[in-house]
Symmetry: C2
Subunit: 301 residues, 2 copies
Amino acid sequence: MIDNPAVFDLRTAMALAASAVEDALNQLLPKTDKPEGRLFEAMRAGTLNGGKRLRPFLLVHAARLFNVQESCALRAAAALECVHSYSLVHDDLPAMDNADLRRGRPTVHKVYNEATAILAGDALLTLAFEILADPATHEAPNVRCELVTALAKAAGGAGMVGGQMLDLVAETTELDIGAITRLQRLKTGELIACAAESGAILGRASVQHRQALRAYAHDLGLAFQITDDLLDVEGTEAEAGKPVRRDAEAGKATFVTILGPERAREQAGILSRQAVAHLNVFEGRAAPLQAVAQFVVERRS
Amino acid sequence: MIDNPAVFDLRTAMALAASAVEDALNQLLPKTDKPEGRLFEAMRAGTLNGGKRLRPFLLVHAARLFNVQESCALRAAAALECVHSYSLVHDDLPAMDNADLRRGRPTVHKVYNEATAILAGDALLTLAFEILADPATHEAPNVRCELVTALAKAAGGAGMVGGQMLDLVAETTELDIGAITRLQRLKTGELIACAAESGAILGRASVQHRQALRAYAHDLGLAFQITDDLLDVEGTEAEAGKPVRRDAEAGKATFVTILGPERAREQAGILSRQAVAHLNVFEGRAAPLQAVAQFVVERRS
């Protein structure tokens, strides 16, 4: 893959965006010497732990299409990453997925304890909205309100948390392909769509451009999830940095158990190409976003 | 107490505010027939369960000082109550206080399950910011951003969640009176102050008026907490609607264990009178807020 210069550039661009958002997070996450300091350590542990930083990449590169100031895009990206990170911290709890490892390292509740992990997640979610509402994120208050609204809708009961609830329901109910698609759209798709859309909100994009970015990110999100399911079946624990085949062992329906690996791979490819096509409206200026839509179905971890 | 007409009026005013905010919450909390519906049921169970609705009362009556439209104040009050309710749902979890009862009824994780309670709390916190950022809460986006900022600061790591973390630390560390005051200011005081301050934000109050309301609510919050500690020692489970003397049994320092009941009661009285005095700047128009500052130290539950 290193031989393909387009892919190599994407990896560099992804590393740059990841490093920039980690700098922003490092500055925005609180620190203290006071007795409650372990809360902030747990927040940092749940956030500054590697990861692909896909959502920040989408937000930053969507914002660039509209010449948004980079520092503003990075603040919004950090806010979204706080929400994504809190969801992983809570999802890993014993009452939820009961995961001991995340990206090859012990999860927050294993290093700290359950109570601290619950509180760290709560504080990360709250911090995300504090960051978005701050004038440093955008000079116009109506833009900041739109960011808050978009994130709250994507992350709440009608979005990510609703999807996590469906995931719990799926443990005892058999889901068909329509129900799984809806589950994944809510659980991961809405926040991914919110990332691309937030770039458009920051740039006060036209309705047409905003919708193109939303449609792109929705297809990309689904392609990403189908690939995740394939990696869970075909990957190794070392590649994934977490236990694999847990879904199959739990008897949970996934895109792969319903479609089979061949058709699932085909479907991911179709969605990836569809995502790329949505951005033709930007006439070549959205190349990084188009490249990442290819990357998500080709990745090995 | 019924003989005292001022107190009788306050109880009516409190019941009116409580009923109005419950109507608002009932409209704002989502419902669905879809498979994730239990999430929304759990959110409703954690929110529409009685309670004094002290924060809504403070917000609504502070807003009235500045002739804020009542429907706007009730939306902001509902948002704050979502945050207060989520904090109780998470606080009652086995990994935190492990409480089976709240206001005489089984807690959310007992009726639903732990995972659903965690998610319901997360969704309530998220919903609070969605409500505040909505144009129906205030026509001016900068006012809505200020509301989001005030709530996020009051509820996050530097506020309520930080106080809950200190509460965990207190289980293994001996706290002095200064540390306990700080713990309570963070854990309950900041959100109570935010309630009164949000009325001022909605009304675009002067700095002087906003600070007076903040100072009032801070003193009231502390008086409220000291009285809570006294009720925990002197009240019965039937009056409190929850187990009493848990703090003492857990060996936790409280205002009462440090000051003794006599000095604690004295201190609560001083703070209550101080709270009343902060509102003299409103020249008699803040009578409901002044009455509630008296009520919080006289209550039996």
